[in-house]
């Protein structure tokens, strides 16, 4: 039984390596014709995307357009109604639970809240994935955890509990945890929301530095235009279930698309209306 499992693991590993070599030059995530509904509301209606290996790709758009939902679809936490999502050549929505979990070991995700385990201190939070997925001795785990914490500048905070951390520190600890298993890609869900300028600057620098130093692929979901554009290699702007603009930050700065213009320039009215759909104002006032 053990031998069969070993062979299966070896086969999966070879297949993954093969897939990776096939697409080594280009994409880590391919999304084709994605359709996703939440209840009766259509969130995505035929979305196509390519996330290039080694790049920082930003997914931007107004609040409530499904940016976080897209990350959950890529991570296999949600299943699309139609279309295909390939991560490193593997269709995430069709994988068995075991294979999905194997794939997730190579994906890191930074949640908006940090999602640190509140009953563990900073050190144990970063050590958590190592303890769960490896049989490494404590001395090696200690070294690895301290290296990850040093990378995010929080080696000295190892004994603190999550409740003792500021929002920015919590996200940096979560980032250290996300890179604990040396993943191939990291997904960042609104990493800059609610951060003071210093924390925001630290996070911007960390995302860029770690992406290049560790050879990662980063997907940053955000609506902080300036910060995200400053580190992104490519940007997708989504609105009302579709990709309404894409390109490098420079290309998007010069685009004529009213959707992209409204979002990049922060205009209060435009294709995304200021007013929520309502009956005529005067008629509404005079009705009673």
């Amino acid at each position: 039984m053990e031998a069969v499992r070993d062979n299966e693991s070896l086969y999966n590993h070879c297949k993954m390596t093969e897939n990776r070599m096939d697409s080594s030059t280009d994409t880590v995530v391919q999304i084709r014709g994605l359709v996703f509904d939440r209840g009766r509301r259509r969130i995505f209606d035929g979305v196509d995307m390519n996330i290039r290996r080694g790049s920082i790709t930003a997914i931007m758009g107004p609040s409530g357009t499904g940016k976080t939902t897209l990350l959950k679809l890529i991570g296999g936490q949600l299943r699309p109604k139609e279309g295909e999502i390939l991560v490193d050549g593997e269709p995430v929505h069709r994988l068995s639970r075991r294979r999905l979990y194997l794939l997730r070991r190579r994906m890191g995700m930074l949640f908006q809240t940090g999602a640190l385990l509140t009953d563990l201190n900073v050190f144990e939070n970063v050590a958590f994935p190592l303890r769960e997925h490896t049989d490494l001795p404590n001395s090696i785990i200690r070294t690895l955890v301290l290296m990850k914490l040093e990378a995010v500048g929080l080696r000295g905070a190892r004994a603190l509990m999550p409740a003792e951390l500021s929002g920015g520190m919590a996200r940096r600890v979560a980032l250290a945890r996300a890179i604990a298993l040396d993943p191939m890609m990291i997904m960042y869900d609104e990493p800059f929301t609610g951060q003071d300028p210093i924390s925001m600057g630290v996070l911007v620098k960390l995302i860029k530095t770690l992406n290049h130093a560790l050879g990662l692929t980063s997907i940053v979901v955000s609506h902080d235009v300036q910060e995200t554009a400053s580190i992104s290699d490519y940007i997708y702007v989504i609105s009302e279930g579709k990709v309404v603009g894409e390109g490098t930050p420079q290309q998007l700065q010069h685009t004529d698309s009213p959707w992209v213009r409204q979002f990049m320039d922060g205009l209060p009215d435009g294709p995304v209306p200021f007013h929520y759909p309502a009956p005529d104002y005067h008629k509404d006032l005079l009705q009673c």
């Binding site: 959950k72 991570g75 936490q77 979990y101 194997l102 997730r104 070991r105 994906m107 890191g108 995700m109 949640f111 908006q112 809240t113 999602a115 640190l116 385990l117 509140t118 958590f128 994935p129 769960e132 997925h133 979560a174 945890r177």
Partner: protein
């Protein structure tokens, strides 16, 4: 009329969907047993949280319930000149009914509500999603240890409640009200049957342990991940547990002691 029917239909569908989810959830959590064997530390920690930390509440409550039983029992039995049977009355009440039932109700209020709130908050703060994305199954890592700990802790707490309750009844009956000590213990010893009373009481406490912990962990896991959702789930956990314990107690009593 049609609207009412539609609402009734939607409500029924919701109830059956939730029951289905609860059953699947229970089976998935039970399947986490191998994790308990490989990592007993997870189970031991939860046994401490739900079991050891409930001991004070269970002990004090058992003591007071036993004392009240002693006092009320003495008043009734002395009218018939049967106060020597006080020990039997206290023991039978506690072993058969009050031990398992009151322990389960207290357990749902103390440990069950804490389990629901803890898991609900973990969901609301994305800790469960975070675990899933780290390829760690929350059913095995979070839910299973809590479920098994609750199932193991309930019979032990119930036994403790019953023992301390009998001691409370003894304290009121014998030293304070003057019931003969020999009669108190000997009648209890001769009347309480191991299979009929004690084994059935243990079975009840195990069933209540499963029901209360299952409801508690499911309500937390299935809650709407907002502060209002967690609060509502915690209330549901205690209310549903109380109904389920009292309802299943009637069924079990009818099966065990019904003619």
């Amino acid at each position: 009329m049609l609207d009412s029917l539609q609402r009734l239909g939607e409500f029924s569908l919701d109830v059956f969907a939730k029951l289905g989810r609860a059953n699947l959830f229970f089976l998935q959590a039970l399947a986490g047993a191998p994790e308990m064997i490989l990592r007993p530390g997870l189970l031991i920690r939860q046994l401490y949280m739900v079991g050891v930390l409930s001991i004070l509440l269970i002990s004090l409550s058992g003591f007071f319930v036993g004392m009240v039983l002693g006092l009320q029992g003495y008043n009734v039995l002395s009218d018939f000149g049967a106060e020597e049977s006080l020990g039997v009355m206290i023991a039978a009440s506690l072993v058969r009914e009050l031990g398992p039932v009151v322990t389960a109700l207290l357990f749902s209020g103390r440990a069950g509500s804490a389990l629901t709130a803890e898991i609900g908050l973990m969901k609301a703060t994305e800790q469960l999603s975070g675990m899933e994305m780290m390829a760690v199954d929350p059913m095995r890592r979070i839910v299973a240890p809590r479920l098994y700990a609750g199932i193991l802790a309930m019979p032990l707490l119930s036994a403790m409640f019953t023992y301390i309750g009998i001691q409370g009844g003894y304290l009121v009956g014998v030293p304070l009200l003057g019931v003969d000590e020999g009669s108190f213990w000997s009648q209890m010893q001769s009347s309480i049957d191991f299979h009929e009373d004690i084994v059935n009481g243990i079975i009840k406490s195990i069933v209540f342990g499963i029901i209360v912990t299952w409801i508690a962990v499911f309500e937390g896991y299935d809650c709407i991940p907002t502060s209002e959702g967690v609060s509502r789930a915690t209330t549901h956990s205690v209310v549903y547990s109380a109904f389920a314990v009292l309802g299943s107690d009637f069924i079990l009593t009818a099966l065990m002691f019904g003619e």
